[in-house]
Amino acid sequence: MDIDLIANILFAAIRTGTPLLLVALGELVCEKSGVLNLGQEGMMLMGAVTGFIAAFHTGSIVAGVLCAILAGIGMALLFGLVALSLNASQVASGLALSIFGVGLSGFVGSNYIGKPLQGLGTLTIPGLSDIPLFGRALFSHDIFVYLSVLLCVLVYFFFKRSRVGLIVKAVGESPEAAQAIGLPVLTVRYLAVMFGGAMAGLAGAYLSLVYTPLWADNMTAGRGWIALALVVFAGWRAERVLLGAYLFGVASMLHLVLQSYDLALAPNLLATIPYVATILALVAMSTNQAKVKLHTPAALGKPFHSSD
C-alpha cells in the first residue's frame, strides 16, 4: 500500500467521520444531562432535508445550514415536550422521533430527490496543506470539518472547566440531588436536548449540502444510530468521540484498501462494514462493565419526576 493511498484514505475518513462527530457531540451533551435521545436519525434527516430545500431555493449554503439547525432544534423540542415535560419513556419517545423523522423527511423531500446543488468548496489552509504526505489529508477540507473539530474542543473544555458543564454533569448523575440544591433540572435538560438537535441538524446539513450534495430518502443510512453507539464507545468523552468518529471513517473507507489489493467484494457486502464495525466497537467497549458504569451518566434514560 503506498503513501498516497493512505493519505487518500485519511482524507476520506475525516470527511466521512465529520457528520458522525457532529451528531455524537450533540448526543454526548444530551446524555451527560441524563437524557437518552434515540431520535438522532430522525433529527439528522430533518436537518438534511430542510437544509437542502432552503439552500436549493435561496442558493445560499449558510441559509441552508441555519434552517437545518432550526429544524433539528424543532425536532428536539418535540422530543423534549413528550419525554421531559410529559415524562413519557425516553426510549419510546426517541424511537418515535426517529420513525417520525424518517417519514416526514421522506414526505417533505419527495419533490427534491435527485435535484442538483452546488456543493461547498474546500478551505485549504495555506502552508500546512503543503506539508508532504499528510498535509492535504489534514488541512484541505471544507469549513465544516474544522468547525467540528473546534466544537469538539469546546465541548471538551465545557465539561472540563466550566461551571455550566459541571451543572450538566450533576443533573445527569442525580436530578434529585440537583433539584435539592436548587439547580434548574428541567431547563438544563431542555437546553442539552436542544443542543443535541442543533448538532444533528448541522450534521444532516453537512450530508445533504456538502458531503454528497443532494437529497435522497433515508440518506443518513443509520449514521444517527452509529453516533449513538459512538458515544458509548467513547465512554462519554469528547476527545474519544473525535477519535472514534475518524476510526469509523477509516472503517467505511476500507473498500478502498480492499480494491487496492484487488479484493473485489460485492458493494452490498462492503456497505455492511461500518455497521459490523459498530457492533464490534460496542462489544469491545461493553465487555468491561465496570469501566462503562464509571463513565455512564448515572441517571441516563430515567425520567425525572419533580417531587410533589
Binding site: 461551571r163 459541571l166 451543572i167 454533569k169 450533576a170 448523575e173 442525580s174 434529585e176 440531588a177 440537583a178 433539584q179 435539592a180 440544591i181 436548587g182 439547580l183 434548574p184 462493565q289 465496570a290 458504569k293 464509571l294 448515572a298 417531587s307 410533589d308
Partner: protein, 532 residues
C-alpha cells in the same frame, strides 16, 4: 404543654426566623400534615420528633420548597411568603442536610460544594477552596476538597453537606435524621458542631425519632403524630418514657421468649467468603466468616455502604459466589447456586428495598406473592394456578394483617409498613430453614415493626436460623442473640448481645475489631489504606 397550640400571630413573630401557621398537606389516601403550627427561635436547636409516617418529611419538604402546602402560612423573618423551590429556600438562608445525601458521587467534594453556591461566588476557585477549608476548620469538620465523594464514608458525606450549607449565609439549618448513618463517635462530633452553630445564632431544626438524642441536644421540641403536632415541650424536662408515649401512643409489647427451640445445628455457614461488588462504587466482601445456628437470630451492624447490600446479594443469590463451599445452607453448598434453587433448599430473603427488590410496585399483591412463592404449588408444569395464587396472597394479607384493598391492590399503593408485613409474610409462609433480612423495621411505624419482630421471633422459636442486617443498633440489640459489624467489606467476630454493648459494636463499625478472634491480617483501621 398545649396539645393544639394556637397560632395566633403576634407582633413578636418577627423575632422568629421561621413560623409555620396551620400548615396542611393532603396526599391521596393520607393527610400528611394536619394544621401544623410551630415556631423556631433564633440560635436554638428545635426537635421535630415523631415516628415513621408521622409527617415529618412532608413538613420538611414544605419548608424547603420541594412541596407546596394545601393550606397554612409560612412566615420567614416576620414576612409571610411562599417558598416556591429549593433554590428559593437556599436564597432565603434555609439549608438542608438530607437523610439520603444530595451529593454527586462521581464529582469531588469541592465540585459538590461549588454546585451549591451562586455563580458569582465561584468565580475564583482558589478563594472557594480556601473558604471551604476555613469553614471546615472553624467547625471541626475536616473535608478534603479534591476527594471524589464516592470514596467518602457516610459521616464524611454528611460533613460535606453541612459545609455546603455553611458556605452560604444559612440562618436555618435543617437536618433530617442526621444520626441514622453515623457511628457513636461521629454523632458526638456532630452534636458539638451543632451546639457551636446554635451558639453563633443559627437556628437548627433537628428531625429524629431517637429520644435520648433529642433530650441531650435540643432546646425545644414539637412532637408529631399522624400528621399533627400533639405536643410541644422542652425535652430535657420529660422522661424518655413520657416522650415515647406522646410520640407513639400506647403500644403493644414485644412477644416474650417462650418455648425456644435451640440446637447446635448450624443452618447457615459462611466460610471465607470474598466477592467483588458488581455495583459502581460498591464494596468488595473480604473473608467473611459467619455461622448461624438453628433457633438463633444473628445481627450484622454497620454504617450504610460497608458491604451490607453486597452481603445480602451474596447470601440471597442475586450475585453468585466463586465457589459453592463459601456458603452452606444446612450442610448443602449453595455459594454458586442461583437464587431460585437456594429457595428450594429452604432459604428466604427480605431484601433492602421494598419496591425494586422485594416487590414489583406496578404489580398486584397476588402477583407479588407469586414472585418468590412460586415453589408453593402456585405453578404446575409452567402454568399459573390462579386459585392457588389467590389463596396464597389472601393468606398473607390475613395472617399478617396487611392493610390493603384485597389481593388485587398494587404493591405501590401500600404504605411501607404494610408492604413490609406482606413481604415478611410471603417469605415466612414458605417455612424457610434460614431467613436473611435487611433492616426489617426500617422506615415503618412502631405498630408494624412489632408485627414484623414478633413474626421473626416465632420463626426463630420454630427452629429456623435468622440473619438480620441492619444499621439500627437499637433494633439489633432488642431482637438478636449474637451481633457483629461490617466495616469496608469485612465482618467482625460475632458476640452474644448480652456480653457486649452498643459502644463496643460502635467500635467495630469503624473497623476496630477487638478480641482474640481477630484473625484476619489487615483488618481494623489499617485496612483503610488497603481497601482503596
Amino acid at each position: 404543654m398545649n396539645p393544639h397550640e394556637r397560632s395566633t400571630l403576634t407582633a413578636n413573630d418577627n423575632v422568629y426566623p421561621l413560623v409555620l401557621a396551620n400548615i396542611s398537606k393532603q396526599y391521596p389516601g393520607c393527610l400528611a400534615n394536619n394544621n401544623i403550627s410551630l415556631r423556631i427561635k433564633p440560635g436554638t436547636i428545635h426537635a421535630l420528633l415523631g415516628e415513621n409516617g408521622a409527617g415529618k418529611s412532608t413538613l420538611l419538604k414544605i419548608i424547603y420548597g420541594l412541596v407546596q402546602p394545601d393550606a397554612g402560612r409560612i412566615i420567614w423573618e416576620g414576612k409571610a411568603i411562599d417558598i416556591v423551590s429549593p433554590a428559593h429556600a437556599r436564597r432565603l438562608g434555609i439549608g438542608m442536610v438530607f437523610q439520603q445525601f444530595a451529593l454527586f458521587e462521581s464529582l469531588t467534594v469541592q465540585e459538590n460544594i461549588v454546585l451549591g453556591l451562586s455563580k458569582k461566588s465561584t468565580r475564583n476557585m482558589h478563594a472557594v477552596a480556601r473558604r471551604i477549608s476555613d469553614v471546615a476548620n472553624q467547625y471541626g469538620m475536616a473535608v478534603e476538597p479534591q476527594r471524589p465523594v464516592h470514596t467518602l464514608s457516610a459521616g464524611e458525606r454528611q460533613r460535606v453537606e453541612i459545609v455546603r450549607c455553611l458556605m452560604q449565609d444559612t440562618k436555618l439549618l435543617i437536618l433530617d435524621e442526621p444520626t441514622s448513618a453515623l457511628t457513636p463517635p461521629e454523632v458526638d462530633a456532630l452534636f458539638t458542631t451543632l451546639r457551636q452553630l446554635a451558639a453563633q445564632g443559627t437556628s437548627i431544626l433537628f428531625i429524629s425519632h431517637k429520644l435520648q438524642e433529642v433530650q441531650g441536644l435540643c432546646d425545644s421540641a414539637s412532637i408529631l403524630r399522624d400528621g399533627a403536632v400533639v405536643a410541644s415541650c422542652i425535652p430535657a424536662q420529660h422522661s424518655t418514657a413520657s416522650l415515647a408515649e406522646m410520640m407513639v401512643g400506647a403500644a403493644a409489647p414485644l412477644l416474650q421468649n417462650c418455648t425456644r427451640t435451640t440446637s447446635e445445628d448450624v443452618y447457615l455457614r459462611v466460610t471465607n467468603l470474598s466477592l467483588a461488588s458488581d455495583k459502581l462504587f460498591g464494596v468488595n466482601l473480604q473473608d467473611i466468616n459467619l455461622s448461624v445456628r438453628a433457633g438463633e437470630i444473628v445481627g450484622i451492624a454497620g454504617v450504610a455502604g460497608n458491604g451490607q447490600s453486597e452481603l445480602l446479594s451474596a447470601l440471597g443469590g442475586a450475585q453468585l459466589c466463586q465457589r459453592d463451599e463459601e456458603i452452606r445452607l444446612a450442610g448443602v453448598a449453595i455459594g454458586a447456586m442461583p437464587a431460585d434453587e437456594r429457595r428450594q433448599h429452604g432459604l428466604a430473603v427480605v431484601p433492602e428495598q421494598r419496591l425494586g427488590q422485594a416487590a414489583v410496585g406496578a404489580m398486584s399483591l397476588r402477583d407479588n406473592g407469586l414472585l418468590t412463592g412460586f415453589r408453593q404449588g402456585l405453578v404446575k408444569r409452567g402454568i399459573l394456578q390462579t386459585q392457588a395464587i389467590d389463596n396464597f396472597a389472601t393468606t398473607i394479607i390475613h395472617d399478617y394483617s396487611v392493610k390493603c384493598d384485597g389481593s388485587e391492590a398494587l404493591a405501590n399503593s401500600l404504605s411501607g409498613g404494610n408492604l413490609q408485613k406482606f413481604v415478611i409474610g410471603r417469605e415466612l409462609l414458605q417455612n424457610p430453614i434460614c431467613l436473611v433480612a435487611a433492616h426489617p423495621a426500617w422506615g415503618i411505624d412502631v405498630a408494624a415493626a412489632i408485627v414484623v419482630h414478633n413474626a421473626l421471633f416465632s420463626l426463630r422459636d420454630s427452629g429456623s436460623a435468622i440473619v438480620i442486617i441492619s444499621e439500627d443498633l437499637d433494633e439489633l440489640f432488642s431482637i438478636c442473640d449474637r451481633v457483629g459489624a461490617l466495616y469496608r467489606g469485612r465482618l467482625s467476630a460475632l458476640k452474644p448481645t448480652v456480653d457486649t454493648s452498643s459502644e463496643a459494636v460502635g467500635q467495630w463499625m469503624v473497623g476496630v475489631f477487638d478480641g482474640p478472634q481477630q484473625r484476619w491480617p489487615g483488618s481494623g483501621v489499617n485496612s483503610k489504606q488497603q481497601c482503596e
